[in-house]
């Protein structure tokens, strides 16, 4: 009983630490180190991102992927025109707008943006 009582007293004594005179200075030093760490980390991430971007771009350009994309785009435009133009009712498109690959891609992009806005609004409501 006396043992437990002494141990409790000892824990309380350990917990009673007086405030140090230079507590504010210590806090500043820790916060300063944190800030420096974050700045260094941000710089490192930025430099690595830029280097990765340059290397990635060089690889993409060097592999001739642009030509592949252009070829695929032309094929998909032809496919979309062939199939989508049959599915869209006459008179749905505004006057003067001809149905081509660009219009379809633009409509798809607008649909994605609208879906994103709707999702963001829904999350905010929740």
């Amino acid at each position: 009983m006396a043992e437990a009582s002494f141990e409790g007293r000892l824990e309380r004594m350990f917990a009673e630490t007086p405030a140090m005179r230079d507590a504010d200075l210590f806090t500043l030093q820790v916060v300063d180190k944190l800030d420096r760490g974050w700045t260094a980390r941000r710089l490192l991430i930025g430099v690595m991102g830029a280097a990765g971007g340059v290397i990635g771009s060089a690889q993409i350009l060097g592999s001739g992927v642009i030509g592949h994309i252009q070829a695929l785009s032309a094929q998909s435009n032809a496919y979309l025109l062939q199939h989508v133009s049959q599915a869209i009712p006459q008179g749905l498109l505004p006057a003067g707008v001809a149905l081509n690959g660009q219009v379809i891609w633009m409509a798809a992009a607008l649909a994605v943006v609208a879906a994103g806005l709707g999702l963001a609004r829904g999350i905010r409501e929740i």
Binding site: E3, F6, E7, R9, L10, E11, M13, F14, A15, E16, T17, P18, A19, M20, R21, D22, A23, D24, F26, T27, Q29, V30, V31, K33, L34, D35, G37, W38
Partner: protein, 194 residues
């Protein structure tokens, strides 16, 4: 951005939540609140003032990195103290003083660390009493009663057998009990030091 007065009145757990989202001002408030306690523990474990501050800073930086791991099961202060205590033990072991665990068991310390150094608003008798313990006893007692580690956790941190840690704790407690009793050594020391 949350302002200073708001942070000053916020609960520790609210500050932890803010710090977990990268809020450094909130974490700064936690450091302001608990910095002295963590530094005090380091000094009581045997670190000199510069080393205590160095370790306490490292502990807070580590706490910020790991703040997502803090589940609020104990207090934030206790959590940081455990981190700091483990850092102290690591450094103590690295400086090849771990062999003191065996060699100086039961011996009284002749050269108390930090004796006579100021810096605190008031002195607490425990500081003087701890200086009379052997380094291993002091560390074991501080780990268990200051940092809240169990005997097994202290043994793991020190990489020492559980029985050895228990022996050091027991001897340390016996000495502290004598020194902190009203008619013990501590009483005489208090008279000497005024």
């Amino acid at each position: 951005m949350t302002s200073g007065p708001v942070l000053a009145s916020a609960h520790d757990l609210e500050l932890v939540a803010l710090a977990a989202t990268g809020g450094r001002p909130a974490f700064g408030e936690l450091v302001r609140r608990h910095g002295s306690s963590v530094r005090g523990l380091m000094r009581r474990m045997g670190a000199d003032h510069a080393m205590a501050d160095d370790l306490a800073q490292d502990a807070f930086l580590a706490a910020f990195e790991q703040i997502g791991d803090f589940r609020g099961e104990g207090t934030f202060q206790a959590w940081v103290k455990r981190i700091a205590a483990r850092l102290y033990v690591k450094r103590w072991r690295r400086e090849a003083r771990a062999d003191l665990m065996a060699e100086q068991a039961g011996e009284e310390s002749d050269t108390p660390a930090g004796a006579g150094e100021g810096g605190a608003v008031s002195r607490i008798d425990l500081d003087e009493a701890l200086q009379g313990l052997a380094p291993a006893e002091r560390i074991c007692v501080s780990l268990c009663y200051g940092a809240g580690l169990s005997h097994a956790e202290a043994a793991a941190a020190l990489n020492a057998p559980l029985g050895t840690v228990k022996s050091h704790v027991k001897r340390g407690l016996d000495k502290l009990r004598r020194r902190l009793s009203p008619d013990g050594d501590g009483g005489q020391q208090r008279q000497v030091h005024g």
